[in-house]
């Protein structure tokens, strides 16, 4: 009793703490909620069930009687000490056919955050935190009385990542997913299966075999088979729209992934749930469309897929529906047995639990809704009770034109005895591909292999059936005689997707011939997806093919591209002789040659590198390859280093830079004088020469840097000397660094001194010591504090020193709850999101340097496309003031410590056996040799600096928060599905344009001139480009021009709408497009996906009004 009392008291305190910002709670009345839907013409929505009949639905699925099963979790996100496990499996029925559930059965009520349910096999599979269980009602009272553990060992490191999303495949297997923080260890009769991080499993109950289909994704809660058995997933935290799931695909954030594939729609809202609209009730134009809830944005997005190469092209189309109700959280969508679309609405003003306290009082634990979407004038499908049908009737339904009927019938067949004889007789009568595919799946669903049907389908004229047949072979090749022959034909299929399946099948067959066969696919067009699959099989199967190759037996015949591909994928030298011969005798195409050189540098021995170096005079790019070999692989050519001297005389700065680095890396003493000369006398070569010298790292170099850092009359030289010195002898560099910082009135640290001193704790401490008793300008001290605060291990001594010398107040601010409540109120009443967007886009604020909105902008931080719809205002405020308080999964900083004490921080981009790649705060990629690394840890520090908003006035801060809080909500700040041009490359001022304009007019901007420097520019959320924001490129007189380039990914003729052509010129390539003088216009262009193909020039001195380019679709 005492314990309970204590508990009650402490919980009240918690809730009191969490009350702030509680005003934004919408009215829970379902009738009022229903009125908030924004539905396209002809669509109707109806409430099927609501609280208290149901609460907190997580996933739903229909059974073969047409009843809706759902799991309900009021316990989420975390059990309260002393509370019972009381989450439920509920069954809803509509007994009178009015679309409203009128009967509810509690099938089970003792579960622990159940996240998936699938009625099948005479009971129901339920995901229950650490385990998947099977519940069965054996006495017919409607309640489960038997509970068996099917699989256990699922991690629970985060309860919105635990095993979830059950889907029954047409193959009769149970598919389920887990997310980024989960580590699962399943003991199966075939051995233990471990999955670290996100991924997709399949499980066959009859054999108890559980295997991994795909790895990665951040929080994937949507998974679906299309009508031909291809699989797709959505990601609730990933933002790549639809992901093409093929066997062994590896996506973002899979731990230890050496390589990943991307989703089909980068920059899209994060999606939970996935369904394909099908059946005769769905209007024709929507059938086949994929819909997926954007639960942050209170809407359901829609995508259309088209086959493209070995994968798909996915286009987002108009939203399926949306709501302005802030607690509408669609998280699951399913086609129902009546042909209508059902939506599970988690109903909560707060989503997930990472950023908002477990015990936050705004978190809803008792509500939940199921909605039903129908279409006017379209007849519903007849709802059937498949448990009442004979086997014959069931078989007939498995080829119904209604997909829901096919699935329910197949599901029911699994529970019947002696189906095979009837199935096999029935199958032999089928003549069309569609029916045969269903029959093939019926067999597979019963754990049998219909070899004859498979063999007929691989001969189909339609590649979709050929691919479907191969997918069955993928799982059951041992039971298909002649499978190898089928696959050998399929690897040269004229369809890319079929070839991809052939590679997948081969990956299942550990045989010396598998890789050589797979690499035949290189004779056909190879896209990213295929390239990944081939890379993957070469590595996975190394033990099967490489020994034969090493024994000198022919493996790839005379096909050099196959050998190069295999060796590059493997990163090991198996035999470079034939590759060398081809490079030296010049028999390769330029691409093959490039590949060949890169493979030699990646895998070759010191002797091979010498041979490569000899080719460098003709092919200077080789030098940079040798730099990588020295840095990452720690290998140098055995001989011939003397040739470096001539490269150091090169006029080409890139050649000189590579040679300078090599001189240092190889510690090639004869080159030193040339480097010293370049450093002190040739400004263009200064930086590269200094790097080369620094790599020598000896006392002589240190003395030189020290001298120059103090005595050079040139500031840039002093800065370079300091920076390079900081890397090898920071204690001797610090004093000069302080002098430079004291002179930095602009406060921008253009020489990036801080970065150099933050790489190593020895260096940061030296700088801290050198700052003792010194004064710094406020601006530079503030910047230093930001940089220090976001380095993986913030150096306390340096931060303290910077605060003292800059006389700074502590920048991390934690408003009191009263202040927070006031701020929230002011954001609501005074904040102006349009003004806020202008603040957001200010370059000095750095928002756009790291964040994208709807894929437009930088990939460093999380995409903010729907942050406003998902995060409460207090969360946004705290995130800005104290970034370390709230870090989104997938965006934690990785800290790599080197053995020499250097530390690198940034987002983990990739890792391999030899190197780790980090992306730092400036977007720069750092490659670190594995052999130099001491350890890699996840840092609790955000890459986002604290105090970024410190320079804002209060009203600007409030506007900024208001803008962020509107992102993703219905209105001006929701990225629309319209194909608007949002990504531009804009021209930086260049001296030649002043003259050039005189001769050529604006055509000078369309030229392919190498000296032009381009930077990325993202449009406003609504797609507008503001001439005043573009770099002012000088024309004649006082005229300035904003010059932006873009590409069009659409193929063929594209209609482009320009809002106003006033003072605007457009070029397709170098050719000017004739435009009217002013006003809106639509022009026709030929698509070209070169992102710099089209050039737009707008007179920014005279035109202030925005430019909007939109592609017109029919």
């Amino acid at each position: 009793m005492i314990t309970r009392l204590l508990l009650a008291v402490s919980l009240t305190t918690l809730t009191a703490f969490a009350q702030r910002g509680l005003k934004d709670i919408p009215d829970p009345d379902p009738v009022k909620q229903a009125a908030t839907f924004n539905l396209p013409e002809g669509m109707e929505i109806q409430l099927v069930a609501s609280d208290p009949m149901i609460a907190k639905p997580v996933q739903m699925n229909f059974d073969s009687k047409g009843r809706l099963w759902l799991v309900s979790s009021g316990m989420y996100p975390h059990i309260i000490p002393g509370a019972e496990e009381n989450d439920k499996v509920l069954i809803l029925e509509d007994t009178n056919g009015d679309g409203v559930a009128d009967k509810r059965t509690v099938f089970a009520d003792n579960l622990h955050i159940p996240t998936a349910v699938l009625p099948a096999d005479g009971g129901a599979y339920v995901a229950n935190s650490t385990e998947i269980i099977f519940l069965k009602d054996t006495d017919g009272d409607g309640k489960a009385d038997q509970r068996r553990v099917v699989l256990s060992g699922f991690g629970t490191e985060d309860t919105h990542h635990i095993v979830h999303t059950f889907e029954q495949g047409p193959d009769g297997m149970l598919y389920f997913l887990q997310s980024i923080y989960i580590h699962s260890h399943l003991e199966t009769p075939y051995g233990v299966r471990r999955l670290m991080g996100g991924g997709i499993w399949h499980f066959r109950p009859e054999t108890q075999r559980a295997e991994i289909l795909s790895k990665g994704l951040i929080n994937p809660w949507g998974f679906i088979f299309d009508e031909h058995g291809q699989t797709f997933a959505t990601d609730g935290a990933g933002g790549h729209g639809i992901n093409d799931i093929f066997p062994r695909s590896v996506f973002r954030t899979s731990p230890g992934a050496k390589r990943i594939v991307d989703g089909l729609n980068p920059g899209q809202p994060k999606l939970c749930g996935l369904e394909i609209l099908s059946g005769s009730h769905i209007p024709q134009k929507l059938r086949g469309v994929l819909i997926a809830p954007d639960f942050r944005g209170h809407r359901i997005n829609a995508y259309r897929l088209n086959p493209e190469g070995s994968s798909y092209n996915s286009t987002r189309i108009d939203d399926f529906l949306s709501s302005s109700h802030r607690a509408f959280r669609p998280i699951d969508v399913k086609m129902g047995p009546d042909g209508a679309l059902y939506i599970a609405d988690w109903y909560n003003p707060i989503i997930q639990h990472g950023e908002v306290d477990f015990r936050d009082d705004r978190r809803d634990h008792s509500r939940g809704r199921i909605w039903r979407v129908t279409f006017k004038g379209q007849a519903l499908i007849e709802k059937k009770d498949f448990t009442k049908f004979s086997i014959k009737e069931l078989l007939a339904h498995t080829i119904s034109k209604e997909r829901v009927h096919r699935e329910q019938a197949r599901n029911e067949l699994r529970t019947r005895k002696d189906v095979l004889p009837e199935l096999s007789a029935w199958s032999s009568e089928l003549t069309d591909d569609f029916s045969r595919m269903q029959a093939m799946w019926n067999h597979q669903a019963l754990n049998h292999t219909a070899a004859k049907l498979i063999k007929s389908l691989v001969e189909s004229n339609d590649p979709r059936y050929r691919a479907a047949a191969l997918r069955v072979i993928y799982h059951r090749h041992e039971e298909v005689t002649g499978a190898t022959e089928i696959i050998k034909r399929a690897i040269n299929d004229k369809n890319g997707r079929v070839r991809l399946w052939a590679v997948s099948c081969l990956a299942q067959m550990p045989d010396p011939d598998s890789v050589p066969t797979a690499l035949q696919a290189l004779d056909h067009p190879v896209d990213k997806t295929m390239d990944f699959a081939l890379w993957s099989i070469v590595r996975e199967h190394q033990a099967h093919w490489a020994p034969r190759f090493e024994a000198g037996k022919p493996v790839f015949g005379d096909k050099l591209p196959r050998l190069i591909f295999a060796m590059k994928a493997l990163g090991k030298p198996l035999s470079l002789e034939s590759i060398f011969t081809s490079v030296e005798n010049g028999s390769l195409t330029p691409t093959e040659r490039k590949d060949a050189i890169s493979v030699i540098s990646q895998v070759g021995s010191p002797g091979d590198l010498s041979r490569l170096l000899k080719l460098a005079p003709k092919e200077p790019a080789i030098l940079e390859q040798l730099v990588t070999a020295a840095q990452i692989r720690k290998l140098q050519p055995k001989s011939g280093k003397g040739s470096l001297l001539s490269f150091l005389d090169s006029k080409k700065s890139t050649v000189f830079a590579s040679a300078a680095k090599l001189a240092g890396l190889w510690k090639f003493a004869p080159a030193r004088n040339k480097l010293v000369r370049a450093f002190t006398q040739a400004p263009a070569k200064r930086q590269a020469a200094a790097e080369g010298l620094r790599l020598f790292g000896d006392e002589e170099t240190i003395k030189l840097f020290l001298k120059l850092s103090k005595e050079s009359p040139d500031e840039a030289t002093r800065a370079i000397a300091v920076k390079e010195l900081a890397k090898i002898a920071p204690d001797r560099a610090a004093a000069s660094a302080v002098t430079l910082l004291q002179q930095d009135k602009a406060g921008k640290d253009e020489h990036t001194l801080f970065t150099s001193f933050l790489q190593n704790s020895r260096a940061s401490t030296s700088l801290a010591k050198a700052l003792e008793g010194k004064t710094l300008p406020i601006k530079i001290a503030t910047l230093g504090l930001q940089r220090a605060g976001t380095s993986g291990r913030p150096p306390k001594d340096l931060m303290a020193a910077l605060q003292l010398s800059g006389k700074l107040k502590p920048i991390s601010q934690q408003p009191s709850s009263a202040d927070m409540a006031k701020l929230i109120e002011r954001v609501r009443t005074e904040g102006n999101p349009h003004r806020g967007e202008t603040v957001y886009r200010r370059t000095d604020l750095q928002c756009i340097a790291c964040h994208a909105i709807g894929g437009v902008g930088s990939p460093i931080g999380p995409d903010l496309v729907s942050i406003g719809a998902s995060a409460p205002v207090d969360y946004l405020i705290t995130s800005l003031l104290n970034p370390n308080d709230k870090i989104k999964e997938g965006y934690h900083t990785t800290l790599v410590s080197e053995k020499n004490g250097n530390a690198h921080t940034g987002g983990l981009v990739g890792e391999s056996d030899t190197e780790v790649v980090l992306r730092d705060y400036a977007g720069k990629m750092n490659r670190i040799a594995r052999s130099d690394i001491k350890n890699i840890t996840i840092s609790p520090v955000s890459m986002m600096p604290a105090g970024l908003t410190a320079g804002l006035r209060e009203d600007q801060f409030i506007d900024l928060i208001r803008f962020l809080s509107e992102l993703g909500k219905d209105g001006d700040f929701k990225v629309s599905a319209k194909p608007i041009i949002r990504d531009y490359m804009v021209l930086r001022p260049h001296p030649r344009t002043v003259d050039g304009m005189g001769h050529y007019g604006t055509a000078v901007f369309a030229e392919k001139f190498e000296g032009y420097q381009w930077q990325t520019y993202g449009s406003k959320v609504n797609g507008e480009l503001l001439p005043s924001e573009l770099p002012k490129v000088k024309g004649r007189g006082r005229n300035t021009w904003g010059v932006a380039r873009f590409g069009l990914t659409q193929k063929g003729k594209v209609k482009l709408k320009i809002n106003d052509t006033y003072l605007l010129d457009l070029f397709a390539g170098k050719k000017e497009v004739v435009l009217p003088e002013k006003g809106p216009t639509v022009i026709e262009l030929n698509g070209n996906d070169d992102p710099q193909y089209f050039t737009l020039a707008v007179n920014s001195a005279s035109r202030q009004s925005e430019v909007l380019l939109e592609i017109v679709t029919e």
Partner: protein
Amino acid sequence: MMKFWLFFLLLTIIPVSAVTFEDNDTVVLLGNTMIERAQKYGHLETAINLSVGKKRLKFRNLGWSGDTVFGHARSYFGPPKEGFDRLKSDLSELKPNIVIVCYGAVAAYDGEKGLPEFVAGYETLLSMIKSSASPREIVIVSPPPAESLGAPMPDMGKHNRQLALYSKALSKLAQKHKLQFADFFTTLGESKGLTDNGLHFTSEGYQTAAPKFVEALGIPLATGNQIQSEHARKLREATVAKNKLFFFRWRPANETYLRLFRKHEQGNNVKELPMFDPLIADAEKQIEALKKTTLSLK
């Protein structure tokens, strides 16, 4: 098949001594899925608890699906070493008097070539247990045989031969370190129907296997009257309830936020974990009372 079993029995007949339980002992059960799931059904713990008579025991189940002697399943985000260290800190905190260890079921898939690594890993584990908890006794338990359930389920004959090999190695290991060896592999023997997947006991499976486990520990089994009584059923239910509370305390969900790299967001909620302690203590009092009543039966 029979011939093989007979052969194995002959090989492994060694003098059986008994594990000594004392009043107020804390007993840790350590292992992979077989141990982990035992906490959900309670048969195993109840059978041991009743068989030691009046001595009061506290059981702490640290089983973890898919775990190995290296701590593979316990590591969360880091390498297995982190899992091993987690176990070390758990043991240091619990300070058990007796540690009953059952590993080998996962490792046996590696066959003969994996044996040296397994034995070496086991020895590291043993010395870690000794240094972190100094228990009075460590018991090495051989893993139970797998069941061949008939097509389409796989034949587990090969795996059983490998399990036999590993059990034999465990027996030698126990001898070498002068530790108790509980030959569960042999006392359970060939079975069918104790599992759904050939590996892991169902509730009924645990019920059948529990007496064999007690037998392997070398202690006399409580009477049938006691074990099959209504009181024992209640005792088992109370045991399962206690195990759940301990599970929420020891292996909480949301670890990422409570104690790992997102603890700056939700680490404040870690204060709820000790709130389970008094609940566990209450549950244990109830277990003691139910045990007393059960033991009063003859």
